[in-house]
């Protein structure tokens, strides 16, 4: 009997604890003014631990939530399409009125589901393919997408490689991240880097030049091969995110290769190369602004950073909120928008520090409430103009 009592006491304690915490967090509401009622937004995330993901979350949680009457509900780390479907089901069950998606295992399925269930859906830090956009642009509940499109990803890689090529460097090593998992973003960035090498070296990459390099990498299973590109040398390549001894060994070997002057990373370059890189060797990365990246730039470990800024997800939030308030932002044809947004580029520690200071602020981030308020109910043209002026200087104006 004692055992049964013990068991029941445990179960009841658990029940009481859960009920108490349920009672402690409730929300009041008022009926007429849409802004008076808390808007519940679900956020689909495929990454919960990277610096970029944390800075995005911090912007929503520590700034947006404090200035708007909204509540965010986050998914767990979503790894596949089934997990995305489950997360959307969870949001619908919990009466979320809109979903902002950072997860891309199966975007068409996400959009279809939200349309069927009558819940607004927006893509943050990403875009749909042209075919997907044509398919979904007229959906009532599809708000739109803002993020670096694949052309911008290609250009980001190109610009970074060109920055070093213009300085006369000719021997490169690369980290191509998730290219071997066919992640388009990383393939396009890598292709951009190689395209710049082809131009500067007056050569080609296994017969391909320019955008054709994307197809070449795809046909090789996402792998980039070492070799001579005209007068430029690509002497070491590491891919994947194995995080095992062999993987770290390969990174260390490329970082310390005397035939490599510059290390280029399509992302996570600070994780991949910074720890192994000897002094004097150059490192460029496409990532985001964090205290660590600024520290590395100050130390001279990192010399080029094309970074997303955390407030870049402000306009998509404003567009989503506008849709929930009954003022969706649509193109002249009445379709959802597809807007591109690029990176902030820092090539010295001072600039990186300046960017980070604004980016990490929880009181005056790059996109403040005053700026975002102008987007609620804005016309498509005004909205597009606002989003396209994404450079640090433009935003500060």
């Amino acid at each position: 009997m004692k055992l049964i009592k013990k068991f029941l006491v445990m179960q009841l304690s658990l029940l009481m604890a859960i009920c108490l915490s349920a009672c402690s967090s409730g929300g009041g509401s008022s009926a007429e003014d849409p802004t008076a009622k808390t808007v519940k937004i679900g956020v689909l995330v495929s990454d919960t631990t990277s610096a970029e993901a944390l800075s995005f979350r911090s912007y929503y949680e520590n700034y947006i939530k404090s200035v708007y009457n909204v509540d965010f509900m986050y998914s767990d780390e979503l790894k596949d399409a089934a997990a995305e479907q489950s997360a959307i089901d969870n949001f619908i069950a919990n009466n979320c009125q809109a979903i902002i998606s950072f997860a891309s295992a199966d975007r068409p399925a996400q959009i279809e589901k939200c349309e069927t269930e009558g819940i607004y859906y927006a893509v943050a830090t990403g875009t749909l393919t042209d075919e997907q956009y044509e398919q979904f642009k007229s959906y009532k509940y599809y708000v739109g997408a803002i993020g670096p499109d694949l052309a911008i990803e290609y250009q980001a890689g190109y610009d970074m490689a060109k920055f070093y090529l213009d300085q006369g460097y000719t021997k490169f090593g690369m980290f191509t991240g998730a290219s071997v998992y066919f992640t388009e973003m990383h393939i396009y960035r890598a292709a951009g880097m190689i395209a710049a090498m082809c131009e500067a070296g007056n050569g080609d990459y296994e017969g391909a030049k320019g955008m054709d390099i994307v197809g070449k990498i795809m046909s090789e299973g996402g792998n980039v091969n070492t070799g001579k590109i005209g007068s430029v040398e690509l002497n070491g390549v590491v891919a994947g995110y194995d995080f095992d001894d062999a993987w770290f060994g390969k990174l260390a070997a490329v970082a310390n290769d005397p035939n490599v002057e510059v290390l280029l990373a399509v992302g996570s370059g600070q994780t991949a190369f910074a720890g192994f890189k000897p002094e004097g060797k150059m490192l460029g990365d496409i990532d985001c602004y964090t205290a660590d990246s600024v520290g590395l730039m100050k130390a001279g470990t990192l010399n080029y950073l094309a970074g997303k800024f955390s407030a870049s997800i402000g306009p998509i939030f404003a567009a989503t909120l506008s849709a929930v308030y009954g003022k969706p932002i649509r193109t002249a044809d009445g379709n959802a928008f597809a807007l591109s947004q690029g990176y902030w580029i820092a090539t010295d520690a001072e600039t990186a520090e300046k960017y980070f200071e604004v980016d990490s602020s929880t009181t005056a981030p790059a996109y403040t409430k005053e700026k975002l308020d102008t987007l609620i109910g804005a016309s498509y043209d005004d909205f597009a103009k606002f989003v396209s002026a994404y450079s640090f200087e433009d935003i500060q104006k």
Binding site: M1, L3, I4, K6, F7, M10, Q11, L14, L15, I18, C19, S21, A22, C23, S25, G26, T48, D71, M73, Y74, D76, E77, K79, D80, A81, A82, A83, E84, Q85, S86, D89, N90, I92, A93, N94, N95, A105, D106, P108, A109, E112, Y181, F182, T183, E184, M218, G221
Partner: protein, 324 residues
């Protein structure tokens, strides 16, 4: 007096055996109470809970046949991923859902058979071969995706499976599979023999039981569950990647333990444990979600409850007599 004491012990033991079911009912009560307070869409939530737990229930129920033997298969998720990929590719070539189902089940059973036969031939612990299979299957999934030539995913057209992506269809599959497993486990000698081997392999061998044969049958049953799980996964989310079913292996272990079954297998194995555990886990996840707990905190709460459940189930293990 002694008779009375024995009766009391017997009753408390029976009740503790039912602890997982009581826990699940309590969890459902808590869920309903919070859902009511938070104005949650309860009918949609129930549909959601079933949707999210059925696949784990099916796979875990099949896996009970392995766990009862005291064995452990770490490659169930990878096997499900490969089966789903092969099944999807088969559909894309034939356009037949029946062929897709057959290929999913066939592939999963074949993978299970390879694991168990390898273990029998080389006289290795099954656990060791499943570790090898895990690496092999993960690599094979990448090869399949690459061979398919459609980027990083293999897709079945959503329209093709929309008709069967319903809770009712999944429930029918679950009920049929559960009925089959309950029959095989509780009404045939297979279940009793497996419990004997899991509880005391030496005694079982001396009694003439062929552990290798039982292991192969157990793995085949698990393969059947994995194959059906793969099929249901395609119907729920027809875009498959190398991450498909990545969490299934761990979900199965947690569900089985949550359902009150010892991981060491043996006489206290219960075929219903997987279904009860899986449903309890999903209810718990939903409660955490309604409370908007941070993912890390949710994991910690789940871990504490997991330990609590294991502790409660251990209270019932008799130290002086054989378990029944």
């Amino acid at each position: 007096m002694e008779k009375k004491e024995n009766k009391r012990k017997f009753t408390s033991g029976k009740l503790l055996n039912l602890a997982p079911v009581i826990g699940m009912i309590l969890m459902a009560a808590v869920f309903l109470a919070i859902a009511y307070m938070k104005d949650v869409n309860i009918p949609y939530s129930f549909k959601n809970i079933l949707n999210q737990s059925i696949i784990t229930m099916v796979v875990a129920t099949g896996a009970v046949f392995i766990y009862t033997l005291g064995a452990f298969d770490i490659s169930l998720g990878a096997s499900m991923c490969v089966s789903a990929l092969v099944g999807a590719m088969a559909y894309n070539r034939t356009g037949s859902l029946l062929i897709m189902l057959g290929v999913c089940v066939g592939c999963a059973v074949l993978v299970s058979l390879i694991s168990s036969v390898l273990a029998s031939v080389f006289n290795l612990p099954v656990f060791v071969t499943t570790i090898a299979m895990l690496s092999l299957l993960n690599a094979f999934a990448l090869v399949l995706i690459k061979a398919n030539g459609t980027g990083d995913v293999v897709q079945v057209p959503a329209n093709a499976v929309r008709g069967i992506n319903t809770v009712w269809f999944k429930l029918i599959v679950l009920i049929l599979f559960l009925a089959f497993c309950i029959f095989a486990f509780s009404f045939m000698k297979l279940g009793r023999q497996e419990k004997f081997v899991g509880g005391n392999p030496i005694c079982a061998a001396l009694s003439g039981l062929n552990a290798s044969k039982l292991s192969i049958i157990g793995f085949m049953m698990a393969g059947l569950g994995v194959g059906l799980g793969a099929f249901l996964t395609i119907t729920y989310a027809p875009t498959l990647s190398r991450n498909t079913a990545g969490s299934v292996g761990m979900d199965v272990i947690i569900s089985i333990v949550f359902g009150g079954m010892p991981v060491s297998g043996g006489a206290r194995s219960r075929i219903y444990s997987a279904a009860v555990g899986s449903l309890s886990m999903t209810l718990l996840s939903q409660i955490m979600l309604m409370l908007n707990f941070d993912s890390g905190i949710s994991q910690m709460v789940k871990a504490v409850i997991f330990l609590l459940v294991v502790y409660v189930s251990m209270l019932n293990s008799r130290k002086t007599i054989l378990p029944r």
